[in-house]
């Protein structure tokens, strides 16, 4: 090996360099090499993720207007958040409402599209691509586009409603319809979920369907007893990711409504951003962000804990 290969022609063993002594045995050397190879990632994680997280946790216990030093105030930000922030509960309500409507609708929409696009019909690639394209449009561009479509005065959607004789809506301009309009907008990007569900559908072995058909199962029974159960792991994934995304919803509301009208689209992330960067109350902003983390973590854990009740794996025996 390396040490043998560096023996001199006289047969005497040359003195080991400092580096060789440091490296020691092959096992030790392999270990050191391994650590060195993962060092950039570990450093990146420590410097750009763990470090800021710890810093933000500390800042959440301070009064920190960015340009002045943080001043330790204990739990005051957390207490004020729940007791004094006039729009805190409104932001929680809006975000929760969005999550419980947009996530199930998004999953259902994506799943139905995947079922349709799992059929063997001509031009399927075109349809799959068409439904997927909206997900690669930048969020800002799609928000602006939807702003035009939903414009009460000259928007395409109101024009279509007028054409077929239906009443028009102010959409994002009215408190009653603004949140629903954002939920509607969110369905535009179901193509991302659709691709995942399509992959899940194509992963179901054909033999299951064949065996069920031999046993006399009809189309509805095939869907109910084979497709749905075997898709639950994929739906579970969609639910977890959807929930996390919904609780962090920001861009479209930031661009189109700024939380209005009358705080009807005042999402939690908007509030965090506003506190931290507009009001320069970084302490309160980070406290709110940590509360959001706890909520999302709790909900995710609940979903995980509920999964044995409704998620089925192909090889699982219950």
């Amino acid at each position: 090996m390396a040490v043998e290969a560096t023996l001199s022609s006289t047969g005497t063993k040359p003195e080991k360099s400092f580096f060789d002594r440091l490296m020691g045995t092959k096992r030790r050397r392999d270990t050191i090499e391994g650590y060195i190879f993962i060092l950039p990632v570990v450093l990146g994680l420590l410097i750009f993720t763990i470090g800021p997280m710890l810093a933000s946790f500390y800042i959440s216990f301070t009064k920190y207007p960015i340009l002045r030093s943080p001043e330790w105030i204990g739990l005051r930000n957390y207490v004020n958040m729940f007791t004094k922030e006039p729009n805190f509960w409104q932001a929680c309500k809006v975000t929760l409402l969005y999550a419980v409507t947009a996530v199930p609708l998004g999953i259902a929409g994506a799943f139905m599209l995947a079922l349709l696009l799992n059929q063997r019909v001509k031009g399927m690639s075109f349809f799959r691509t068409s439904f997927y394209i909206p997900t690669i449009v930048p969020a800002v561009a799609s928000a602006v586009l939807w702003g035009w479509l939903l414009n009460p005065d000259y928007g395409l959607i109101n024009a279509m409603l007028k054409t077929v004789g239906l009443p028009t809506s102010r959409f994002l301009g009215e408190p009653d319809s603004a949140l629903a309009s954002l939920v509607l907008m969110s369905l535009w990007s179901v193509g991302g979920g659709m691709v995942i569900y399509l992959a899940g559908l194509q992963g179901i072995p054909e033999t299951f369907y064949e065996a069920a058909k031999i046993d006399g199962a009809n189309g509805r029974q095939l869907f109910r007893f084979i497709t749905v159960p075997l898709m639950t792991p994929t739906l579970f994934f969609g639910l977890v990711m959807g929930l996390i995304g919904a609780f962090q919803y920001f861009t479209e509301a930031f661009i189109l409504t700024q939380g209005g009208p009358l705080f009807s689209t005042y999402f939690y992330s908007l509030m965090v951003y506003e506190r931290a960067f507009r009001f320069t109350q970084m302490g309160m902003g980070t406290a709110m962000a940590w509360f959001l983390l706890v909520v999302v973590l709790t909900l995710t854990l609940l979903v995980f804990r509920s999964s044995p009740l409704w998620v089925f794996y192909e090889t699982e025996v219950k």
Partner: protein, 455 residues
């Protein structure tokens, strides 16, 4: 490849990797780079020929860039060794300025505006220019309209010098008034006169759902302090008295209710949240639009010959005055600049007669120096419309300043808890979901809580 050479190569690689990792870690932990301005002191700069590059952070294009070209020219004329290097910024100015100030990389001179005066001053971002200006023979602070200077004055310190006399004035669509059979606005109009006449415009034509096709008043500036606060002052109200938030005091509520009634009762204003695909005044859909002089050029360019328009003083309030607000932009010097004196020398040019005259003739500003504004010569050769240029100047007589006495952590008319609270309450009143007393009592409670926490 031999075993030996493979071994040596791997060692070299590992050494390189370790060195690179260490350097990356050091680089990540390194302090932010110092400002890129020359390290020479002001004293050296003034005395010697050593070239100095003054960093100037501005918005690109008119009106800020051409004004800064005048400022740069004037600075270099007096200090030949100094050149201004423009750094163009966009997006949220406050965020950018705070981030750069925190990192110590903010430009020596930077664009600012009335809304940033208090937060930048109270966070020690902007330099107090008062002492330097008072001792400067090139500058006459007494000649500047006090209201305009007041926009950049915080606790007696001057934190930005304003660009022009930007008083909120009434732009009106003559054609629309005439089509509706309404009288044209005069300088003696009260708000009741405006309501009576603009009702004719709002009632002139409806769409199939019964919504007005035209409105008396644009909604573009509905929540701007310079639009809202004059109603409070005009009705004798206050928003802050002896560290007590007084948004729900009777006179304040009366003024705010009267303002909200333009929508809620008289139905003469463009509904909130109704976007007509651009500025409703410029599109000919709103008869009246209230803004500063800087809008005259884009309005002239965009309106073309679609309709005739002019400007007029804001209508008279119950206190008998043409109450209106002001808003302007200007230039500030960075408190951490290595060239504070030169930064001031650059900024001060904005209120010198020479630069003010150049800016006026270039149609960028209405002069903010009394000695120029009160002579008719400044209007000679300016493009029309508008015709009634003196409305831009005369409005300054009754113009008011924003309240800037809230603690920085509570914000102001422009930002933070104060802004969010009053705008939310006002929106609720205009939309008719709450009465003014209820809405502003809630706003008061929120603002007062912040005042108490920051007493």
């Amino acid at each position: 490849m031999s075993v030996e050479s493979r071994t040596v190569s791997r060692r070299s690689f590992l050494r390189l990797a370790a060195a690179a990792g260490g350097m990356a870690a050091l680089a990540a932990c390194a302090a932010p780079a110092p400002p890129s301005s020359s390290s020479a002191s002001d004293g050296e700069a003034a005395a010697g020929p050593e070239p100095i590059e003054l960093r100037v952070s501005i918005l690109q294009g008119a009106p800020v860039q051409p004004v800064n070209e005048f400022l740069s020219e004037a600075t270099t004329a007096k200090n030949p060794n100094v050149t201004a290097k423009f750094e163009f910024i966009s997006g949220d100015l406050a965020e950018l300025v705070y981030a750069q100030a925190a990192a110590g990389t903010l430009a020596d001179v930077f664009f600012s505006a009335d809304l940033y005066a208090v937060p930048f001053a109270k966070n020690d971002v902007s330099l107090d220019l008062k002492a330097m200006a008072e001792g400067d023979p090139d500058v006459d602070l007494e000649d500047v309209f006090p209201a305009m200077l007041g926009l950049g004055t915080v606790d007696g310190e001057i934190h930005f010098l304003p660009s022009g006399l930007d008083v909120v004035t009434m732009y009106y669509n003559k054609t629309l008034f005439e089509q509706a059979g309404a009288e044209l606005p005069t300088d003696t109009w009260t708000w009741d006169d405006l309501i009576t006449n603009t009702k004719l415009i709002t009632e002139m034509e409806q769409d199939e759902n019964g919504n007005p096709k035209y409105w008396g008043l644009s909604n573009a500036t509905w929540n701007w302090w310079a639009t809202v606060y004059p109603w409070i002052v005009g009705y004798g109200g206050l928003i802050l008295e002896n560290d007590q938030s007084t948004w729900s005091s009777p006179k304040t509520v009366e003024g705010l209710q009267a303002y909200a009634d333009l929508w809620a009762k008289h139905n003469v204003a463009q509904p909130l949240g109704l976007d007509v695909g651009g500025d409703s005044f410029q599109l000919g859909r709103a008869a009246v639009y209230t803004h500063i002089q800087a809008l005259r050029t884009p309005i002239r360019d965009n309106v073309g010959d679609k309709f005739e328009w002019d400007i007029q003083l804001m209508p008279v309030m119950p206190d008998g005055k043409h109450r209106t607000g002001m808003g302007t932009w200007g230039m500030s010097a960075y408190s951490g600049s290595k060239h504070p004196e030169l930064a001031y020398q650059y900024v001060k040019n904005i209120i010198t007669p020479d630069v003010q005259t150049k800016m006026t003739k270039a149609e960028i500003v209405v002069p903010l120096l009394r000695s120029i504004a009160e002579q008719s010569a400044w209007m000679d050769g300016l493009a029309t419309p508008p015709e009634n240029f003196m409305a831009f100047v005369n409005g300054a007589d009754d113009a008011i300043l924003p309240v800037m006495d809230h603690p920085a952590d509570c914000g102001s008319f422009y930002v933070g808890v104060v802004q969010q609270s009053y705008q939310a309450a006002l929106e609720a009143v205009i939309r008719g979901t709450k009465g003014a007393e209820e809405a502003f009592t809630e706003a008061d409670a929120t603002i007062q809580s912040c005042l108490n926490d920051n007493a």
